[in-house]
Amino acid sequence: MAIDLQAIERLATDQPSLKAAAGLAKPAKWSGIGASQDGALIWGECAGSGANPYRVMADLRDLGNKCTCPSRKFPCKHVLALLWLKAEAIMAFGAADTPDWVSDWLGRRRTGSAAARPAAAGAPAAAKDVRAALEVEPEAPEDPKAAARREAASAKRLEETERAILDALDALEQWIGDQLRLGLGAFIDDATARCRRIGARLVDGKAAMLAGRVDELPARLLALPSGDRARGAVVELGKLVLLARAFRAAPRDADIRRAVASAESREAVLGDPAALRLTATWEVLAEQVQTRRDGLVSQTTWLLNLGASGPRFAMLVDFFPASAGKRGSVFTPGDQFSGELVFYPGRTPLRALLLSRSPVESSAPDWPAPEPGLAETLSAPLLAEPWTIDVPILLPGGRVAVDATGRAWWRAAEGDTVLPVAGATEGLIRGTDLTRAAAIWSSGRLEILAAQTPWGRLGAHG
């Protein structure tokens, strides 16, 4: 099915959309381009501002389309760019099996009168111009004085932010002292309201990441068995004290700043020569989507490096407002791909951005062998950065067992290591050997993300 640039012009909501699409209609921005066997559907993944790429899809019969980006424009620049790639044959859309995420969209979309309306009925074409969108505007020469002013203003802003954060950390420590004085028993009972209050104070003090962490603290406490909560509160509040002290000691440290204030922008990470870049074969272990108390939804994708070198795990994190509605998954657990990641700089690189992705050429390798010395593997990240909450870990052979109260434990096949398992484990994961398991060690418990078993690969929920 053919499409021309005039149709794209008509479909665009305004000239800026067309201009932005022209910038994205370049092979380097895209991966996973494909078309259905009948040629009616096209799709691709476009690198956006987040850690995960956006999934873009269109139905060429009626130009119905969908993108996982949070833009309120419909269609967004990514859809227009995908159509542009097709119209101008900038990239080859090889016929392939339709991915599940495209089929899912196809099943949900309404192909009634509104969606099936021909593109000609959109906004008038005269207001937008594809040729104008392709014109390159010359860059204005930079005024050295203006640049110096900007740098000075930036330095001042940074200083003010640090001062505000330090004030907020003083308030946090004061608050922690109050909780100890009033009793952790009462704190646990009223944790949500109390954490909300100090969380708001931290937001005012520009310690946004720390505020989010404090807001989620009650949920982590309540997930523990009631007998473990007082101990859990000591651990959680102790980590906050350590993080506050670490920030006072090194406010410009990238890891610490990321844990307290905010993460660097995508551009900053890409432009940082110290940021580790790694091309490897990755397996998607799991995707965790969590609606937070601050109204944001966090989407975390855990990746396992199947190669021999580089960090064993990577974590792609995006945040978007819950009001933007449910967002499609970017990956399917169990997917394997070859991809280049750039890691946020830090002592233990973990959080990363996905730069490019392509299908695995040959048969993917097995899961790697876990590091020897399980106890050291669990504790090392907590010794390096004591405020760390989640430690991804690859477990050796073992099995889930239950105690007399029905609580689940992971027991190593060799040696006597026994670790508590978080949440309810149901079904097959309780009734088979786990020859390897990938898990998150958090709050003194394991959350199993995926496992290799005699029945094949097993996801966390079945």
Binding site: G177, G238, K239
Partner: protein
Amino acid sequence: MVEAIYDALGAALTRWTMGGAAAPVAPPAWATLIGDDPGEAELRLLALSGQFLGVLVTPAPLEGLQPLPDVPVLAMPALPEAQRPLARRILRTLRDTGSRRDLLRFLAARGWTLHPGDWMPAATDEDVPDVYAPWRDWAEGSAIVRPTTAEAPTEQNWDDYWPAARSAALTALRRRDPAAATALLAAKLAGESAEVRLRLLGLLATRLSDADRPFLESLAADRAPKVKALAAALLARLGHGAAVGEEAAELAGFFELQTKGLIRRTRTVAARPMKTPAQRSRRQALFEAVDLTGFARALDGTPEELIALWPWGEDRQADQALVGMAERSGSDALVAALHDLLLGQATVDVTAMLTLVPRLDAAQRSAFALRVLRAGGGTFQMALALTGGEGALDGLIDTTAGAALLGALKAEDAAKRADLNAELHSLGLIALRGAARDALDRLARAGLLAADPRLDMLRLNAALEDGEIR
């Protein structure tokens, strides 16, 4: 050192939990680290304690940590890897246990089971196919290892079986050796709960014969009314119904025998007009309580005469109630006659036939389903209700229902979208593999994209070869 700190932390934790300063009871080893300033000392002690507890202390299990036994391998293989994603997607769309049961039956009829990583039954899922019995038993008693037995059930090994596996084994035994199954139930049934007695007694409906009569009659003294009623119904199927009782006479009072025609005078049963809803309700209750032989006798006839003289089509509620009575207490021969009669009617009474389904064999159900699909107004959902997900029907897209489906898809009425989805899903569950492929071709020609998730069940059907039963 570590133990000493851990022991000392107990007191600090108690103070913090209750509210108060813990620095005075801090582990002595940390005294210099936490300093003398009271406020600062509390925070430092908290930081040290948190790190100590978070890194060095791991909860230990209570006594009796028990690894669970392996999930058993079933008699049929799990779906091939290539089909698992499609099956998972279908599973996600199924909203009730009935829909899931249809999918499981379809897979079992083709020789496959779901992969245990995608779905496993709960112990209470009684309507899943028997092939899943070992998984139900595993779910019920997964913490307790009990040897599984591959032998036929006997009085001696009765207690070696988990309930679902025993029920499945008894079903197989009843098909193979009905007398042995009756003898085993006669010996062991009394020791089971009423619910289990009722379920196991239901197995006797298969290959029921006069040889079962003494055992069924012995159940007249059972403690549970439902068990007694089922035993009586099974006896009635053998022609040993209860004598005409008050209830049968009362039900007969709602009808009368009439003579019609001036030259060829024929007898017929006619319903007396009812004046109040209470009367209608009472009549319905009596239909559900009385057995067919008793009702026929109360009208001075035999069950066969009653069926022949019945004024079919004049009172649908009474028709369906009579069919329900026949399903429960009619003999096999009578049920066969009733099936032929319903199949021969000008207007198909699907509800009545659905009532009869538990007593019909697969061929009878398929024949009736095709009849429904070829008649105007029949749907694939009706055919699914009649046959279950057995994937055994051919030529489906060429039926009247198939033409109606293709027409509706072309019209694509948003209001009927859910209904169309259900039709396509049902079609995928009842079609033979070849019929599923034909349907996919025709639907593609009608404009449906191959990737349309509404075609998932048809695609799974078309892709799935027969599995190998272990």
